[in-house]
Symmetry: C2
């Protein structure tokens, strides 16, 4: 069974990096619209989007924010992380089919509270930053290695 | 047909407010786990979550971030908004069944670039702030009233 493991505060070093990759699909945009309620036609209606400056449907900016949050929760520090804060700058649109690489780097450790600051970059397949920002988390104190939960199957009509 | 309408930069005033409400369901947590890839057991496994400081499954913090982004995209300014930046502080957990009210208030208009800064608060049914932050957006110049897209039906197995 696949496992989720973490890095504890003591194991984490300034300069440590991690990566999390995901390709953005049309299905992701529909699911994100459903869960957030943001049914803006820029994300959902190809004809409308063609008439905007973007020229085609784009993903919700916060969908890339969700990938950054997943990178923190799954990769560095991983399970047991408490999310304290996040800043995000939306720099470029993400389009259907784009391959997003979230790159994390630990830039600060605060021993007193167990807080960690990470630089966060989401880069597309052309090497361009689409979203950048900074995360503040409380790193886990306890080493965890957990079975990776299996989600129920999600299907879309039509 | 239901319409999405916006406020243009010229229509927006400092102090203007808007609200967007959504109840967080188990289905939302599963969909957010699917779309982000964050299958942390704290969100998905009741038994695991019972053994944590939270005592029960909680929603992904960034799911509330997604509601803030939806409030900006749907309510204020609404369609045609370009998302520039967002800061988020995760203050309290959101649990299944919580009724979240996202409250936006315009705190600054910058005439030169059409930028608007909004104070963002996500409040639970007990009146407690769960997420707070600040959004920076480019407000639309053009008045829009668009048919609200209808999503394909999303279903979960089991």
């Amino acid at each position: 069974m696949e496992k989720l493991t973490n890095y504890t505060f003591d194991e984490i070093t300034v300069g440590q990096t991690a990566e999390y990759r995901k390709q953005i699909t049309e299905r992701d945009i529909v699911l994100f619209a459903d869960v957030s309620g943001d049914v803006n036609p820029l994300h959902l209606d190809a004809e409308f989007a063609a008439g905007t400056d973007f020229g085609e449907r784009i993903a919700h900016g916060m969908l890339t924010g969700a990938l950054i949050s997943a990178a923190l929760a799954l990769e560095l520090p991983g399970p047991g992380t408490v999310y304290l804060g996040q800043s995000l700058r939306f720099r470029r649109p993400v389009k259907i089919g784009d391959e997003i690489s979230v790159q994390l780097e630990v830039v600060e450790k605060r021993e007193d509270k167990g807080f960690i600051t990470l630089d966060c970059k989401a880069i597309n397949q052309d090497g361009k930053a689409v979203v950048t920002g900074t995360a503040e988390v409380m790193a886990p104190r306890e080493k965890l290695s957990l079975p990776k939960p299996v989600l129920p199957e999600v299907s879309l009509a039509g």
